[in-house]
Amino acid sequence: MRSNINGLKWLQFTQDLFVLDIHNLERRWLKYKIKTFLPVFTTIILVTLLIMGTVMLWSKSKPNTTPSPLLTTNTKKIAQSRKTVSTPVENNMILEPSMDFIHSISEPAHVITPPPESGQMKNINTTQKIASSQLPPPVAKTLYVLELPPLPKAQIQSSTNNKTMTINRNESTLDITELEQRFKETSNANLGLFIARYYYEHSNYSESYNYALKTNAVNSHIEESWIIFAKSLTKLGKTDQAKKTLQFYISQSGSETAKGLLDNIEKGNFK
């Protein structure tokens, strides 16, 4: 009996000692939970940031081998309408020719461009975006020879009378037409450059102008394309436009070749 009383007293004593401050306890519990989950949240945030950073770095460092959809669209616009050529390029274009001068010469452009075979220009709106793997390899100097379909052998006729040698070179328009067709299909800047170069070398400046323009629209970083573009304009008598183009390109790229050409045009060394 006595032990029971002592037990009850002990129970009462311990209960008195055990005073619960629930609100304080809940506050401490909240603090504990925050402390527990803080490292987890921090880790998640850090990992997310790390992944995002890696993806951004990777996407920046990825080489731009294929024309962007924007460029393709722009190419289409150029092909569809002359007026769209002068439309300012949107958003992400790093380097794009200012086509304002073309707008200023919009009427003469008709005079410049319509060669007999330039009907291909109408078809260029069928340009399709293709995967980079489908693109032909970049055209190099050596490739220049390889890319060309084998030309018919020059027929050498020897004249026994005057002992002179006449070389008849057949220029097959079908070969370049085939390349133009491929360019329409692939929109490969290197191929466009090749065609522009070909026409320029064959003194067809209106076509070289056209293809240099298209090449610039596909890839605005090819120096040679800009040079051919300016040279073609000069050859077509549009020296002012050629100068403007070169000045614009120099301001964007600082190209030494372009500076040299501009200098020659200004001095009248290049006509």
Binding site: L11, F18, L20, I22, L25, R28, W29, Y32, K35
Partner: protein, 269 residues
């Protein structure tokens, strides 16, 4: 408050060593049986050791409770550090002799020889790590003389392990180590304790997740578990009185278990 569903379970988990509250768990029952068998053998000293809160004292009390029905058993729960007092208390309780003069070891052994009891009496010493080295030496001599059979309990901590080695290792004939409860053992312990006192509703509130959390917080320590559950049921009593809508009767709230752990110091917040 006393009519609360949770007041009875709360009081069950008060940290009081009572052999009647002993809960039979398989591993502990096995230990207890081997301890009982050891006591029956002609051994001089039996050591029961383990980390604090593993149930040593409870086992010793249970042994005392069970053996005292059949033979002379004396238990010293709180260590008597004075040597003279220790021997005097033993002489009085074992031999029924209350000496007026100072009780020396020789006098004690003479008394033992003179009485020559047919069955060697058993003395249970709890918290034996608190005894001085010289008193432990006397205890060893008494057990060597087969005057008394000692069952002692020791805390097994790094420091006390050294003491155990120095004073007991060569003299111990049998030692039993108690371990902390596993997850399943703790579940059995809690539920058996509640069911033993007809707290069926509360026993059903413990699910595996609750037990796992409790086991993690207390590391299977029985004393810590008792403290935690006492705090937890106190919280339940409070909420039952002040905000009964917050109580879910199908499971214990993790939040409240953690709050109880914060209150008892198991969680530092």
């Amino acid at each position: 408050m006393d009519n609360s569903l949770f007041s009875k379970p709360r009081d069950l988990f008060l940290d009081i060593v009572n052999p009647k509250d002993y809960v039979q768990i398989d591993s502990v029952s096995h230990m207890y049986q081997s301890l009982k068998n050891s006591v029956q053998k002609p051994l001089k000293m039996i050591l029961l050791y383990g980390r604090p809160g593993t149930g040593k004292s409870m086992l010793l009390h249970k042994l005392h409770h069970d053996l005292s029905k059949h033979q002379k058993v004396f238990m010293i729960s709180t260590p008597i550090v004075d040597e003279d007092d220790f021997l005097r208390v033993l002489a009085q309780n074992i031999f029924g002799h209350a000496p007026r003069e100072v009780m020396t070891l020789n006098r004690f052994l003479e008394l033992s020889d003179a009485l020559s009891l047919p069955i060697i009496p058993i003395v249970l010493l709890d918290e034996a790590q608190l005894y001085s080295a010289s008193l432990m030496e006397k205890i060893r001599l008494i057990s060597d003389a087969r005057a008394i059979k000692f069952v002692i309990t020791l805390h097994k901590t790094d420091k006390e392990d050294v003491i155990a080695k120095e004073h007991f290792q060569t003299r111990i004939w049998e030692s039993i180590e108690l371990q902390n409860a596993s997850h399943d053992e703790l579940k059995v312990y809690i539920q058996k304790k509640l069911l033993k006192f007809n707290c069926f509703d509360v026993a059903n509130m413990f699910n595996d997740k609750n037990i796992k959390l409790i086991s993690t917080l207390t590391k299977g320590n029985y004393r810590e578990t008792n403290k935690l559950l006492y705090s937890l049921f106190s919280l339940y009593c409070w909420f039952e009185e002040n905000n009964p809508n917050t109580i879910h009767y199908n499971a214990l709230k993790h939040k409240w278990i953690e709050m109880a752990a914060i209150h008892t110091g198991l969680i530092r917040a």
